[in-house]
């Protein structure tokens, strides 16, 4: 027997759901990509995108439409990716790097695909809290103060994480390019 009950939602709920779905529809590519940047594997990214939507819908009433949506979505995606990573680290003692990007994906042009795969692989080597700051600021172009607000951390922490994450990114890219040259 299904546990679901058919209920007629109030008009305000319907309009809120419609607005939420519209917003999600516009930004679904961004949510998907953000989760990939935050280290979610290709086989799990769709499920987690759905979780982001459920969370967005649950908190839609709290969203201030005067603010940009992407940082808000990033905050949700970051929390979901963090929880997912914690769960995975409990299940798998050692992280397994999926090479799913080599398969068919959203990227089409080969060169573009290689560059994107390189960035994603380099990001994988940065711990998630620092990676989130770097992705928000250096890729999504979000101001440092907004990064601090969305992630709920002090401004100083944003700066220190950003500095360290940049160093780690450069080191990861150098190492990967060296490994590629050595083959």
């Amino acid at each position: 027997m299904s546990h679901l009950r058919l209920v007629t939602p109030p008009a305000s709920q319907v309009s809120s759901d419609t607005a939420c779905l519209d917003a999600f529809q516009k930004e679904v590519d961004y949510v998907y990509r953000t989760l990939r940047r935050l280290g979610v594997s290709p086989s799990e990214v769709e499920d987690l995108t759905q979780e982001v939507f459920l969370a967005l819908r649950g908190s839609w009433a709290a969203f201030d439409p005067g603010r940009p949506l992407r940082p808000y979505l990033f905050g949700i995606a970051f929390r979901i990716a963090s929880a997912h990573q914690r769960k995975r680290s409990r299940e798998v003692a050692f992280g397994i790097v999926e090479v799913g990007d080599a398969g068919p994906g959203p990227d089409d042009a080969l060169q573009s695909k290689q560059a994107r795969a390189l960035v994603l692989a380099a990001l994988e080597r940065i711990p998630l809290p620092r990676r989130a700051v770097l992705v928000m600021h250096d890729i999504d172009d979000v101001a440092v103060s907004e990064v601090a607000r969305v992630l709920g951390i002090p401004l100083f922490t944003v700066y220190s994480r950003l500095r360290k994450a940049r160093r780690e990114l450069q080191a990861a890219l150098r190492r990967m390019l060296k490994e590629a040259d050595g083959r």
């Binding site: 299904s2 679901l4 939602p9 759901d17 779905l21 590519d29 769709e46 819908r57 960035v119």
Partner: protein
């Protein structure tokens, strides 16, 4: 606070990554279909909200267990102390056990206990809350999807069967049935895959997954 600038080649890579690539149409349709299905399914608590205080929830569950144990022990002690004389037959009433929502147990305990009969609603099969059900559904489908993604179709059938048993008309039933077709086709069970595809079409005639599902029995080995 000044930050050391990134080298130009790293900057260029990040600039390139800045552009969000569009998703393939099928993936996009699948994601939006699932989002719409979640809305149609009604009010559900958000996974993120559920995750905000897992320790609190565990603590609450542990406290409940301790309280229940303490109450049970106290009741047992009282019964032992004030037990009726042996000549009087004990009043045995089949206990209607109300299990916590997340741990399904038999509806009636085999151990006799002289407890008050539970109110009628308490003897119903315990149900998950909508939020727990949503998470349980998602967990099962995630297992099935992961198995299909690594082409381990036999492994996908387990969680699919489990989902069918527990959530026959669940909010992810549509995706489950699509995964069933895909798995059966992947295992070479073409006739069953065709039947499953026909059943899918009959049940979800307007599904965004229908074009893909219809092709599955023919396309897989």
């Amino acid at each position: 606070m000044s930050q050391p600038p990134l080298p130009p080649e790293v900057r260029a890579l990040l600039d390139h990554e800045r552009e969000v690539p569009p998703l393939p149409a099928a993936v996009r349709a699948r994601l939006l279909g699932r989002a719409r299905a979640a809305l149609v399914a009604g009010n559900i608590a958000t996974p993120a909200a559920l995750r905000t205080a897992p320790r609190l929830r565990w603590a609450a569950a542990a406290a409940l267990v301790v309280l229940a144990s303490a109450a049970g022990a106290a009741a047992y002690g009282l019964r032992a102390r004030f037990a009726p004389p042996p000549s009087r037959p004990p009043i045995v009433v089949p206990a209607a056990v109300v299990a916590p929502p997340s741990t399904p147990t038999p509806a009636a305990s085999s151990a006799p206990a002289d407890v008050q009969p539970a109110p009628p609603h308490a003897v119903e099969t315990p149900r998950l809350s909508p939020a727990d059900a949503a998470r349980a559904e998602l967990r099962l489908l995630r297992q099935a999807r992961a198995a299909v993604a690594r082409q381990d179709f036999a492994a996908a059938l387990g969680p699919i069967a489990e989902h069918t048993r527990r959530f026959r008309d669940g909010r992810l039933a549509e995706e489950r049935e699509a995964l069933r077709v895909k798995s059966l086709a992947g295992l070479g069970r073409t006739d069953e895959a065709r039947r499953a595809a026909a059943a899918f079409e009959a049940r979800f005639p307007r599904s965004v997954l229908l074009p893909a599902v219809s092709k599955m029995p023919a396309s897989e080995p």
